[in-house]
Symmetry: C2
């Protein structure tokens, strides 16, 4: 009886495989490091090799793959991935003979949105936004129980909503994108900038005195231990994301917003200023009807 | 054979009725002035009186009503309308006995979006955004052939997307909303401000020397006659709306954006800087796949 699912997270530094049951419980998982730029054929070979070692491989009903990049879901083609340095790779064609069919390939933030919709709301929410906070900021949207892809499959690019018109130059070519202020590296850079003027014993302890060891994880730890610089970085970050989310709440009146990804692990350090800012800036009814997880 | 439709535009200064055929062609129309605050029962009575005088009244299949305000579409209740000064008015209940059923009541910008979807795309677009530019800025969204209302019916409030964080105070309570920079009155105010420092013979001619006569219509006329102040007002307005629309293009990857409402009549004065800004700021594929009408 084939009742389980295979999920693959295809990222620039790591490729993860997991087999989950119909409730989303992980039955087994494995991964291998991915070097970038990565050879698609080699990645595919590694995926298949790893899959063949999995105990529950005969129980799979279908396969879902999230790729860090711009994906044509209908054709199963990775149109462009800056993280993998891939362009127009026919991933579905490469994987179809060796992995359980049907295979669905989508952008990783879209896959995260679908996961959040399925697991967090049990498919009950009518609409949901999922925001992945990591090196970059991605997003996925579920409307009326379906992933929303837009006219050409690129919908959900929340990271490239403008926060500051004519602001700092973003990798995408635009200026002032929220990603440019909230991506993991930029949070770290903001902390470093502040540490030039002020000392923080808490951060010094956590980084063994080497400022280059700062990461969002360390900034969260430091803030939770009372470090003012880190606390301020999170507060400002939350207010900035809250400003963009307030606009999105007014525009889309979503039922649920899910924050995911490494940076979201800062928890209430980020969530509190986000909620306060949305409450202050968005319509009261829209704010009241929106859960932020 | 009942094959026509009754449409009603219920606004703060005027109430318009029209009977249209199945292709959207207006067969007859009439209107009456509305004073604000307006008594709902009186408005309903006036609507019914006017409808009873219409020649094609026996040919109506169903009725659609757009109201300037926050509407509960499922219950047919006007929850709040600042323009009419209405709160929780059971409009459907009041009209049901006297107008052709079924009756659909929605926010006026949502009604405009549905009209644009029906008439401009013949129901063929998969997704569409309609933006109404007038005293205020409204919006409506069509996804997968359906009007999108969001979790509590208020989706589409494009006017209250933040353009400038911590910017000018908007009526909604937030700061820096795009409406605060692009609403008809604000465009006029910007022109007046500039006229304090510089003279414009073209505007003086068009307003008979009285600056109080300036309107978006006059600013468009003046710009088309080469007036620098007016041209600049439209350029800046287009760039501002373009900034917000570039974010929305990245977020929603819409197939079509329709600009409607009085201020949109400025035409290419507004459309040109809008398109240039979106092209500059949004993802290339998303921009290429979006038609702006």
């Amino acid at each position: 009886m084939r009742s389980n699912y295979l999920g693959i997270d295809l990222g620039g530094t790591e490729v993860k495989l997991a087999i989950v049951d119909k409730k989303g419980k992980i039955l087994e998982q494995d991964s291998f490091p991915n070097s970038c730029p990565s050879d698609p054929k080699k990645v595919v070979k590694n995926i298949i090799t790893l899959f063949k070692k999995m105990k529950n491989r005969k129980s799979i009903k279908s396969t879902g793959i999230g790729v860090a990049g711009d994906v044509d879901q209908e054709k199963g083609v990775v149109r462009f991935s800056p993280n993998l340095k891939w362009k127009n790779i026919k991933l579905l064609k490469l994987l179809k003979p060796s992995l359980p069919n049907p295979i669905i390939i989508d952008n990783d933030a879209n896959a995260a949105a679908w996961g959040a919709y399925w697991l967090e709301t049990k498919g009950r929410a009518r609409n949901l936004l999922c925001i992945t906070l990591g090196t970059g900021i991605g997003g996925g949207i579920v409307f009326n129980g379906k992933l929303y892809h837009g006219a050409s499959g690129t919908a959900g690019e929340i990271g490239h909503v403008t926060l500051v018109p004519h602001g700092l130059r973003c990798n995408c070519g635009n200026k002032g994108c929220i990603e440019r202020y909230l991506g993991a590296n930029y949070l770290v850079a903001q902390a470093k900038e502040k540490l030039k003027k002020n000392r923080s014993k808490i951060i010094e302890n956590l980084t063994n005195g080497n400022i280059e060891n700062i990461s969002p994880k360390i900034l969260a730890k430091a803030a939770n231990r009372g470090d003012k610089i880190s606390k301020n970085v999170w507060k400002v970050a939350g207010e900035r994301l809250g400003t963009v989310l307030a606009s999105i709440v007014n525009l889309l009146n979503p039922e649920i917003i899910v924050l995911a990804g490494g940076v979201s692990k800062a928890g209430s350090l980020l969530l509190k200023p986000i909620k306060e800012t949305i409450k202050k800036n968005a319509f009261a009814t829209s704010y009241r009807n929106c859960r932020i997880l």
